[in-house]
Every structure is written in C-alpha cells, then in structure tokens.
C-alpha cells in the first residue's frame, strides 16, 4: 500500500519519455503511456487489496477522527519554505493518503484512463501529433492520480493545476481549428478563476493553521482553532475551485466548448475524471465543509441544484451529441454537489463512480459515432444501430444507465442521492431534484433514440462500425455501467454495501426508500417511453408544449446567454480596462510623468541659455549682480 505513490509516477515518467523519444519509438511511444497506466491499474488492485487487509493497527494507518474511515498516510520531505525549524517556516511534503475515497478514485481513474487510452489507439490513429497526444494523456493521468492521492493542499493544488493545463492542451489539441483554440483558452481561464479562489482558500487555511496538511486543517476545524467564520469562508473559497473544475454554475460555460477536443479526451477528462475533481475536493475536505453545521454545504447544495436543473434543460434542446453529453455531465456533477450538500457523502461518491463509467462509455460511444460518420449533429442522424450495432447497443446501455432505468447502475446511485436530499434538505429540493432526474432521463432518451433508432438516413449508410480497439474498452465500460450499481447493496455475508466502505463518520448500510425508488423509476421509465413516443413514433407532438413556453425556448437554446454575458464583460469591461491601462501607461506615466519632467528640464535649459546674451557688458552685469549678492550674503551671514 505504501507503494501507492508509484501509481502516478509510472505515468509521470512516461510523459517526458514519449516527448523525447516519441520520434524513434514505434507507435510514437503510445504503448509507454498505456503500459504506465496499466501498471498503475494493476498496482491499484494491489493497493486495494492491501487497504482491505489493513486495520487501525497497520503501520501509518489509523482510523481518522475527522472522517471516521481508515486512513493511511505516507510522506516524504519535499522542500522547506523558511529555514527548517525556525518559527513561521513550513516544511512541504510529498505525501499521500490512502483512504476509501482515494482508493475508489484510483480505481476509477486508472480504469477509465486505461480504457480510453486503448480506445484512442484506434480513434487517434494517423493523427500527426499522435505521440504528443499520448504524452499529455500520460501527464494528465499522472496529475489526476496525484490529485486524488495528495495529503496536503499544496500538492493537491499542484496536481489540480496540472490537470487543468493538460485539459487545456488536450482541448486545444487541434489548435488549427479556431474553435478548439478558443475553447482551450476559455476552459483554462474560467477554471483558473475558480482556482484563484481555491488558492486563496488554501492560503487562508494556512494563515489560520500554519500548515498545508489537510489533517492539520481538519484538526484545527474540529478543535475550534479555526473559527466558524473563517472555516465557512475557507470552505466556500475551496468550493470556488471545485465549481470551476466541476463546471458548476456559473462557471459551467467552458465544459460544452471543451468538446472541441478529441472525443476520448472528453470521455476521460471532461466526463469521468477531471471534472469530478471538484466533487472529489469537496468530499476530501468534507470535515471543513461539514463543520459548524455545514453552513457551506447549503451553498454547495444550492449551486449543485441550480447547475443540475439548468444544464439538463439545455441538454434537452442541444443538437450536438457531444454537447448533450457535456450538459448531461454538468447536470450530473450538479447532482453530486447537491448530494454532498445534502450530507449524502456516500451517495455522491457512488454516483461519481457510476456516472464516470457510464459517461465515459457514452462519450466513447459518441466518439465511435463520430469515427464512423464524421458527424455530431443528431438532427442529421438516425437509425445508426443498423450500421454500427455494437456502438448503438453500448451507447444505449450507458444512456439507460444514466437515465436511471432500474437495475442499471445509474438508477441505484441516483436513488441514493434523492434519498439524501429527501432526508436532509427542504422539500423544495427533492421536488426539483426529481424534476432533474426526469429531465436527465428525457435528454438521454432523446440522444439515444434520435441517434440510433428510427430510419437510417441515406448519407449515413457508408458509416461503419469502429475497430475492436475501440469497441473493446466500450464493452468493458458497458459492463460496469450495467452492473456497478450492485456494489451498493448489502450482500449477504460480510459485505455491507458501499456505504460500509465509503462513508463519512459513520458507515451506512444500503437504504432504499420504496416510494422514492418507485417514483424515480416511474419518472425514468416514463421519460424513456415519452421519448420513444416523441422521437421515434411521433405520437406525441411537442408543438403544443413548445408554443406554451415559447418565449423560453430561445433562452434555453442559447444556453441562458451565459456566453454572451461573459463575452460582454470581457469585451466591454476587461479589454476596455486593459486598453485604458495600456494608454494610461503610455500617455500619463510615460509621456506626462516621465517625458514631461525630462522635457521641462530640457526646455528650462533652453530658456536658461538665453542669459548668455553674447554682449560683454551683460556678462559684466551678471558679475556685478553676483558680487552684490555675494557681498551682502557674506556680510549678513557674518553678522548673524
């Protein structure tokens, strides 16, 4: 288990090797990345097994007082800020935590990354920057794994930024396309805004605690060394970072645009791993969020709910397959936040995992579609199941799972969230949450039916099924999307459900609220049936509905004008201000404040030269006046 740190190191090592040796290695060195992550995946199992076998007595492990779970902690000196041992200095460490949350995330990340990288072998074949793609992929995997392992805020932040930059690089992978270039920039800058908040939060905690260790921070919170106000502010600042990475309202705008990157990237980074980092962060520092009755958590819940609702409505009207999935991702991330906000720690992580597998599958499916058809506009698709049956099957599986069709994993995890919301929050939340669940089933149904069912269009007949290197990973993910939900149950015997493994403070068994379960089931199934009727059979017409809410449709189709608003701020405020400062620097500071005095001195010189008139008697006059002044001055100086 103490070797868990090796998991990211494999990939860290792979990245520069690919960059440097890419040109001489077969396959541009892609196998290095895959080997690295495969080794990581293998090691994950070993770590997992070790962790299951460990107990409070194991060296470096203890049952944390702050989370209630078994936590193993390993660290190594990194650098000293300030002289070691002197007051006010701090030693930074490379440190890892192995606890259930980390283990779960390790599994998710290594597995999905492995799948996606294998998939990419087929998808990215022939790209001119194939090696670079894998290098960044490897770097991303490494950073993401570091992120989930980090035991201190600084290391976490380091990894946090690194995944951000990898995201930037991969979104802008095809930077020749202006859209990709812009999307990459936007993604980075928007998330960066959140990161600033997070960094401020981290530094605020440091100011209070004098350490970057999460454990010290938890200790300070629980001991009351960090007062309620500071704790809440710090939590909210950290949440800003989480909002940026997890594309929460109002920072969600970057994620749909991020679909300009290669689709496997979307699957890995913008569906399964990086975007859930925000959720992970909140879960990781849950002791801070939940302290003092969780004032901060209410904000988390509200933001999560708004995000979930808003994104699901946009997903309903979007016509780009990947964008539908992107908004779906935003919506589900909102749900996870909502769950965390509702003290549904276990549910949130459970959903995180389930959603991760399913959404990765969906994206890979979309990638497969794109690979086969070079098209992403669902209006131009239909009946693709006839030409790409495996893709259709697997995509549908994922869609149904995320839509919440019972016994597929999405159903169980979503149900847990609804339960937590029902138990801990105002009834208004549960109603809106159920609405979101319905909408999410609805847009999944739309995406699935419109794309794969119905009549195959003429222009799509040439489409072909993807190669095995793509289908294989999808199939594996499909299996998980289908059955992963079962890990949530109490199985007869010693296994008490995922709640016994992943929990905050107290282990929870598997609950199932029958009325809620049935209600959500009805909503999900109903949504799919409705979708079938609308999009395939044309039995139900939306015209009437559209007419009634007519005014809202363009608003939703335009994504609530967020992009426009931001663009306005950038163009009219930021750039105008920047230009103003630029001009100010040149005109006021340079021309007036610097050249001005210089020119004045010069002009003074030109004016003063006039005193040398060229007439000898005026020279004499100067001397006489000087003489008088000097005599009087000297004389009176001697008197006083």
């Amino acid at each position: 288990m103490e070797w868990a740190w090796l998991i990211p190191v494999f990939s860290f090592a792979a990245a520069p090797l690919i960059v440097v040796l890419g040109r001489v290695l077969p396959g541009s060195g892609s196998f290095l990345a895959i080997l690295a992550i495969a080794a990581g995946f293998a090691l994950f199992w070993w770590v997992f097994a070790g962790f299951l076998g460990a107990g409070a007595g194991t060296e470096n492990c203890l049952v944390s007082a702050h989370t209630g779970t078994l936590t193993c902690h390993y660290q190594m000196a990194w650098f000293h800020a300030g002289l070691a041992g002197a007051a006010g200095s701090v030693a930074l460490t490379w440190g890892i935590i192995v606890d259930p949350l980390t283990v779960a995330m390790l599994g998710l990340v290594t597995f999905v990354a492995l799948m996606v990288q294998i998939y990419s072998l087929g998808y990215m074949r022939g790209d001119s920057r194939f090696g670079w793609y894998y290098a960044v992929h490897a770097l991303f995997a490494a950073a993401m794994l570091t992120l989930v392992l980090a035991d201190n805020f600084l290391l976490l932040y380091v990894a946090w930024e690194l995944v951000g930059i990898c995201s930037y690089l991969l979104i802008g992978f095809w930077h020749e396309r202006p859209a990709a270039k812009e999307a990459a920039k936007k993604a980075f800058i928007v998330t960066r805004i959140g990161d600033v908040g997070m960094l401020i939060g981290i530094l605020l905690i440091w100011r209070e605690v004098g350490s970057f260790s999460m454990f010290d921070a938890f200790e300070a919170v629980s001991s009351g060394a960090m007062t309620e106000g500071v704790t809440t502010v710090a939590a909210l600042l950290l949440f800003l970072g989480a909002m940026g990475k997890s594309a929460q309202f109002p920072f969600h705008v970057w994620l749909p645009d991020a679909m300009e990157g290669p689709t496997p990237v979307s699957a890995l980074i913008h569906a399964a791993t990086m975007v859930v980092a925000g959720v992970f962060l909140v879960a990781r520092v849950y002791p801070i969020f939940s302290a003092y009755d969780g004032d901060a958590l209410l904000v988390v819940a509200v933001i999560g709910l708004i995000t979930a609702l808003m994104a699901s409505t946009i997903a309903l009207v979007s016509v780009d397959l990947k964008r539908i999935l992107a908004y779906s991702t935003i919506s589900h991330l909102g749900l996870m936040m909502l769950s965390l906000g509702a003290f549904g720690y276990t549910a949130a992580i459970f959903h995180l995992l389930a959603h991760g597998f399913a959404k990765a599958l969906l994206f890979l499916g979309a990638g497969s579609v794109m690979h086969g058809t070079d098209e992403l506009d669902i209006r131009k698709m239909g009946g693709l199941r006839k030409v790409m049956p495996m893709t259709a099957f697997l995509f549908s599986l994922g869609a149904l799972s995320l839509g919440g069709i019972p016994i597929l994993s999405g159903f169980w995890s979503k149900d847990e969230i609804l339960l937590a919301v029902n138990d801990h929050l105002n009834p208004a939340f549960i109603i809106l949450a159920l609405l979101t669940a319905f909408l999410s089933a609805m847009y999944m149904a739309r995406a699935m039916f419109v794309t794969f069912f119905g009549n195959l269009r003429q222009e799509m007949e040439h489409a072909h099924e993807s190669p095995a290197s793509m289908i294989g990973p999808m199939a594996l993910l499909g299996v998980l999307a289908a059955v992963f939900g079962f890990v949530g149950f109490n199985w007869p015997g010693s296994y008490q459900g995922i709640g016994s493994f992943l929990f905050f403070h107290e282990a929870e068994g598997f609950h199932f609220n029958w009325w809620l379960g049935i209600l959500s089931m009805i909503l999900a199934v109903g949504a799919f049936v409705l979708g079938y009727l609308i999009y395939i059979k044309d039995r139900v017409s939306l015209e009437g509905f559209r007419a009634r809410i007519g005014g809202l449709i363009p608003v939703v189709e335009n994504k609530y004008y967020f992009d426009e608003a931001y663009q306005w701020v950038v163009d009219r405020v930021v750039l105008v201000f920047a230009n103003f400062i630029g001009l100010f620097d040149r005109i006021v500071i340079n021309d007036l404040a610097v050249n001005g005095p210089a020119n004045s001195v010069h002009r003074l010189g030109i004016a003063m030269r006039l005193h040398v008139t060229g007439h000898v008697y005026s020279y004499a006059m100067g001397m006489v006046l000087g003489t008088i002044a000097l005599s009087i001055f000297w004389w009176f100086r001697s008197v006083s």
Binding site: H615, Y617, S618, M621, V624, L625, I628, S631, W635
Partner: protein, 162 residues
Amino acid sequence: MSWILFIALAVLTLGGGLGVVATRNVVHAALALLLSLLAVAGIYLILFAEFLAIVQVLIYGGAITIVLLFAIMLTRTAEYPRITDNRQWPLAAVASVATLAVLAGSFWTKAAVDTQPHNPALTDLANSLFTRWAIPFEIASLVLLVALIGAIIIARESEEGT
C-alpha cells in the same frame, strides 16, 4: 587744510570719472580720464606717497593716456557718437548705486578713526620691493613681457606664412 585739498581733489577725481562714463565724445572722455588720474596723483600726495604720485603722473598721465589717444585715433570711426551707452544703463546705474552702498556701508560700519598718514622712506620701499617682493616683481616683469608679445602677435599685420 587737508580737508579742503581732499575735497577739491575728490571732486576732480570723481568729476573726471563721471566725465569718462558720461561724455559722448570719446576724446573728451580720454581727457576726463587724464584729469581724474592726475587728481588721484594729488590724493597720493595728501597721503604723503610722493613716489606713487610721481609714478601715477608718469605712467597714467603720460604713457597710458597717450596709448589711449593713439588707440582712439587708430579706431576713430563715425560710430563713436552713437555707441555711447547701451540699453542696460538704467540697470547699470541701479547696480552701481547698490554696489556703492555695500562698499561704503562696509567701510563706514567699523571705520578706523584718528589715524595719522605716514610716509615710508623711498629706500625702504625700494628695499622691500626688491627683496621681499622680488618674486612678484619678477613675475610682474614676465606679465609685461607676455603682454608685449601678445600685443605684437595680435596687433601686427598678418603676413601669410609667419
């Protein structure tokens, strides 16, 4: 007695001086200068500095005035009448009065009173000049030499190649 003499000579001295700076005719100015210089020689006599008085008459009254008159004649032009005073003369007058005030004031503030004029013997003077003041004396002679050479270099007609 000495007061009467003093006042008379002072009037002549200053009158001559004013003549130099005020007259429009340059030859008159030279004559006024001569008057003033001779009156100064008289002053020296009141002070019992006979040797100096003689020197004054010989050098100033003789040599210098003659040189000046030569110069005036050599440079005699029609312009003399119109180049008397320049534009800054009012300011010059003010400055001069101010200077006078400063100088006179400084003399007057702590004036030595009841002092008796005294005359050194000419031999003492000569003795001192050629022993104690030998070096300045020799340098003064070099000054004269330099002035001589300079005047020649500058004033002589240019012959190309010399």
